[in-house]
């Protein structure tokens, strides 16, 4: 079967073309853009909310995007079990929309940061991580000013106990420590999923890491996992 991806386009999205290129041209999947004013997601199987600055994000990242027509449809889609992956600004929008718990603060150093980081997969039993080989440390870049994940202690405990923490920042050898945390995120969290495991939000950009000539192809594992999952169901 062929899996259909839909990449949302907010007026300030700027990783929409990168996600499209990675999923369609590099990974070879059917992919289309979905404009933020649309209400209908059509027949897509997977929704990708890409990085960028949705509506400028002068207020708070994703705070306005949650009210967009397309996000109402995405919430319905997710509630029915559809797969949604939010990357960077997409993660921020998922938090604002209530599809994932918690919020983002400005990076603790109060500066934008763009660099490669190492990620440990904390839960391989999700539709987004099942194809990542056991023990592989993913090398994927971050590029954000507000990636400092925060939630109350109860929520953090629940995330941990439920296996909803999917990725954490770590060293090249997999050591999870504050020294490898690029933004101050609680528990070194780089990505979380919802209880049902069908919605993933992550700050690092897997779509920037699907071609060796750009420094890493580790991001492919995440898209391969999604495909594997879709084909199995």
């Amino acid at each position: 079967m062929s899996v259909k991806f839909g990449v949302l386009v907010f007026p300030g999205s700027n990783c929409d073309h990168d996600a499209y290129h990675a999923i369609k041209h590099v990974m070879g999947n059917e992919t289309r853009f979905i404009w933020h004013k649309e209400h209908d997601l059509g027949d897509v199987d997977v929704v990708v909310i890409p990085g960028g600055f949705s509506y400028g994000d002068y207020l708070r990242s994703g705070a306005i995007a949650r009210f967009s027509p397309v996000m109402k449809s995405v919430v319905d889609f997710a509630n029915k079990g559809g797969l949604v992956i939010g990357i960077c600004n997409g993660f921020q929008i998922l938090l604002e929309s209530g599809l994932l718990p918690g919020a983002m603060l400005h990076n603790r150093q109060l500066r934008f940061t763009c660099k490669f980081v190492n990620l440990k997969t904390e839960n391989s039993d999700t539709p987004f991580t099942s194809a990542i080989p056991e023990g592989t440390i993913l090398r994927i870049p971050v590029a954000h000013g507000e990636g400092n994940y925060i939630a109350d202690q109860q929520t953090l405990d629940r995330l941990r106990d439920n296996g909803q923490i999917v990725f954490t920042y770590c060293s090249a050898t997999g050591e999870v420590d504050d020294a490898f945390n690029p933004n101050g995120a609680a528990l070194n969290i780089a990505g979380i999923c919802n209880e049902k495991r069908n919605v993933l939000g992550m700050m690092p950009h897997p779509e920037r890491a699907v071609e060796k000539e750009l420094g890493s192809s580790d991001g492919q594992f995440i898209f391969k996992s999604i495909l594997q999952h879709m084909i199995s169901v």
Partner: protein, 741 residues
């Protein structure tokens, strides 16, 4: 209620920065005394910033022709170069120095925004951004504030706009105290034949203003840019505009979509002098006129006069001339992106730009009389060779004490703000968005951008050592071009064209003008020799502070083409390779970073450069890279051979053993001379003979100086340093300096 307009007199004209001769000329063009609004329009259009009145005669001496050029300098908003595979590259660099001196964050941000608009109004999608920055000493807290603000401004604007900031150059020297230089460059791609022009023609064609509404911000910004900075510049803060990268992103997408309809006749960015400049320049280019109803301009504030509306420099606006009857197609596209698009007038067949406000004609001016190449004044200023040059050239180098501890001296050099890692800066920039950055900031002399669906790539770099230009304007000008070209060659690219941003002092000072003329002459010499014509650029004069002019800084933005992405080479040692020195003798310490950082001196002559030798070196190196002989290549520049080798070790995380005796008797010169035309390359053991023979055949001196490997850098008997120790100092310097340590 509108303010009553002041009476126009010679006195008022002087207050507007127009001298008596210019005021007389205006009356001649109009055949009468100008209205207050007209005086305002002339004052900005004839400012240095818009008219280039004191520089254009000199600029015309630069070589502008080349086999790759599709659009020559001055014809459009930016130059256009054919890069093969049916694609063209539009690129340009521009200054935003004075705004950044008083409001570093917005000054730098709007500089980035302005230059991108120049590129996408030509129909090209910006694919890379670069910045050339100059500041005073980081020991000064005010300088740290400026540096921090400028970097944040560039980052926030570029990151949101979604174009990667991939390269640039930063230099610190006390001469830039109080007058930092912020030069922003944009590089865009467009299919050949799909470019847009900044022209207004066709009687009755509607004139549309698109983008942000117009406020009182930035009125007389162009005039402000054309004065010396003084102590009371704080009061000029309202002259600085405020940037909105989100609106610019909308403007980019909508404009490229609008151009696809074929209903656009012409399009121009509104930068300096806003509506006045865009309407008059587009009209003059099309030998037509415009009738503009200013009442229709979307306004941010109430009660704006014609004068204010014409001169406002509110950001993120453009002027579009559409084909009559098809304007709705254009308006619909801008509205889809939630942007204003309002018809404010039409093209006329006479040659006048006419502006109405409240039903009253406020100005009626022959368009051509306002613009560069038309009626704007052209001056050739008096020149005088500055007296300091002879004194500097006579400096006695034998008086210098050699280092007592070479290890510490090399570490100290790696900590110089002019040498140290720029990571603190470039990690604040999104340098990866659009997924084309194959070689980003860091371990390379230039950035490399791939072109999707093509095996070709672009190498880009900005460069200029103002200290060299100060010590010898002619040679310094040549070096600026030669070094930028060498940087691009080291990545595996052929240099094809340059854009330039000429940052100098007050042109009315004969010494400044002599330096300006000589430096431009030097650039021209090098452009001819290297066959890299000038495609355009920008001039920024009056870069002075109360202590005098900044180092003369003709910043070069170099474009190189990589024919095959397999050729891409970086500066990092990548294995236990043989190390060759290729190029001219390592002699002379004039103008070196060593002299400045270790001895606190700016003395001597600029480093030696023989252009014929340089051309030969670059072509031999590019051939060797294309033949697959070279594993890594790094140009020798600020800090000399010692810094070049240290960087290659740090980038690769691998040491090297070097025999210094093979390069000369004086270790200080061998290690720290910034003599031009020198490159360090690494080759495999198997290719050693072949590579050596290649350079010998090309008559380029080549010396096998050592081998990469291990974890220390050993330079003869003098230096033995662990790579990790060098890396700590190299990476730690700027963060430490920013903490005031």
């Amino acid at each position: 209620m509108m303010m009553k307009e002041p009476l126009v007199t010679a006195e008022l004209a002087r207050e507007h920065g127009l001298n008596d001769e210019e005021y007389a000329k205006i009356q001649e063009y109009l055949g009468r005394v100008p209205t207050f609004t007209e005086l305002g329009v002339y004052s900005v259009m004839w400012s240095e910033h818009c008219s280039y009145k004191n520089s254009i005669a000199v600029l015309k001496t630069l070589p502008k022709k080349g086999p790759h050029l599709l659009v020559e300098a001055g014809e459009e908003n930016a130059g256009l170069v054919d890069i093969g595979d049916g694609l063209a590259c539009a690129f340009k660099i521009e200054s935003h120095n004075h705004p950044s001196a008083v409001e570093p964050y917005q000054g730098a941000a709007t500089g980035v925004g302005g230059i991108h608009r120049d590129i996408f109004t030509m129909g090209a999608r910006p694919v890379a951004s670069l910045n050339s920055l100059r500041f005073g000493s980081l020991k000064n807290p005010r300088v740290r504030y400026l540096f921090d603000g400028v970097v944040r401004g560039i980052a926030d604007y570029g990151n949101s706009f979604g174009v990667p900031t991939v390269a640039g150059d930063i230099f610190f020297d006390e001469s830039y105290e109080g007058n930092p230089l912020v030069n922003a460059m944009s590089v865009g791609l467009v299919k050949v034949g799909e470019t847009a022009s900044a022209i207004a023609k066709g009687e009755g064609n509607p004139v549309i203003i698109v983008g942000s509404s117009t406020g009182r911000d930035g009125i007389h910004g162009a005039t402000f840019a054309s004065e010396d900075l003084s102590e009371d510049n704080e009061s000029k803060r309202p002259n600085v505009q405020v940037g909105d990268p989100f609106t610019e992103k909308l403007l980019l997408e909508a404009s490229l979509e609008a151009l696809k309809t074929g209903a656009v006749v012409g399009m121009q960015d509104m930068g300096a002098a806003g509506i006045a400049c865009s309407t008059s320049e587009m009209s003059a280019k099309g030998k037509s006129g415009m009738r503009i109803d200013l009442d229709k301009v979307p306004m941010r504030e109430e009660g704006m006069s014609a004068y204010e509306l014409l001169l406002s420099e509110s950001q993120e606006r453009m002027l579009v001339v559409a084909e009559k009857g098809r304007e709705q197609e254009i308006i619909d596209i801008y509205e889809k992106w939630d942007l204003n698009a309002i018809v404010i007038g039409e093209v006329t067949s006479d040659d006048k730009v006419v502006y109405y406000r409240d039903g009253e004609m406020k100005a009626s001016i022959p368009a051509d009389s306002l613009v560069l190449g038309g009626g704007a004044p052209v001056y050739i200023r008096e020149t005088r060779r500055p007296g300091y040059l002879d004194k500097k050239h006579a400096f006695d180098f034998t008086s210098l004490k050699p280092p007592t501890d070479y290890n510490e001296t090399v570490l100290n050099m790696l900590e110089s703000p002019n040498v140290a890692s720029r990571r603190w800066v470039f990690e604040q920039y999104d340098h990866m968005v659009r997924t084309n950055t194959v070689v980003g900031p860091g371990p390379s002399d230039a950035a490399v951008i791939r072109i999707k669906d093509s095996n070709r790539g672009l190498a880009v770099k900005t460069d200029c050592n103002g200290r060299y230009v100060y010590l010898n304007p002619r040679v310094g000008g040549r070096i600026a071009v030669a070094e930028a070209a060498r940087n691009v060659v080291c990545t595996g690219a052929k240099p094809v064209a340059i854009t330039n941003c000429l940052n100098f002092g007050n042109p009315y000072k004969p010494e400044v003008y002599w330096v300006f003329k000589e430096a431009v002459g030097g650039m021209g010499d090098a452009c001819l020799a290297l066959q890299t014509p000038v495609t355009g650029g920008n001039v920024s004069l009056y870069n002075e502070n109360p202590k005098g002019a900044v180092f003369p800084t003709p910043t070069i933005g170099m474009l190189g083409i990589i024919e095959d992405m397999d050729h891409v080479t970086t500066a990092a040692f990548t294995g236990k390779h043989e190390i060759l020195y290729v190029g001219a003798p390592r002699r002379g310490l004039g103008g070196s970073e060593y002299l400045s950082h270790i001895h606190g001196l700016t003395e001597g002559d600029a480093p030696h450069l023989d252009l014929d030798f340089e051309v030969n070196l670059q072509s031999a190196l590019l051939d060797a890279i294309r033949a697959g002989l070279i594993c890594s290549a790094h140009d020798i520049s600020d800090g000399g051979l010692a810094v070049t080798l240290a960087e290659m070790c740090i980038f690769g995380g691998i040491g090297a053993g070097i025999d210094l005796n093979k390069l000369g008797d004086d270790p200080v010169e061998v290690l720290f001379s910034e003599a031009q035309s020198g490159v360090v390359v690494a080759v495999t053991g198997d290719d050693l003979e072949k590579a050596t023979a290649h350079f010998e055949r090309a008559a380029v001196p080549v010396v096998h100086i050592g081998r990469a490997g291990g974890s220390t850098l050993d330079l003869g008997e003098l230096v033995s340093l662990p790579v990790e120790a060098m890396k700590d100092r190299y990476e730690g310097a700027i963060p430490k300096a920013m903490e005031g340590r």
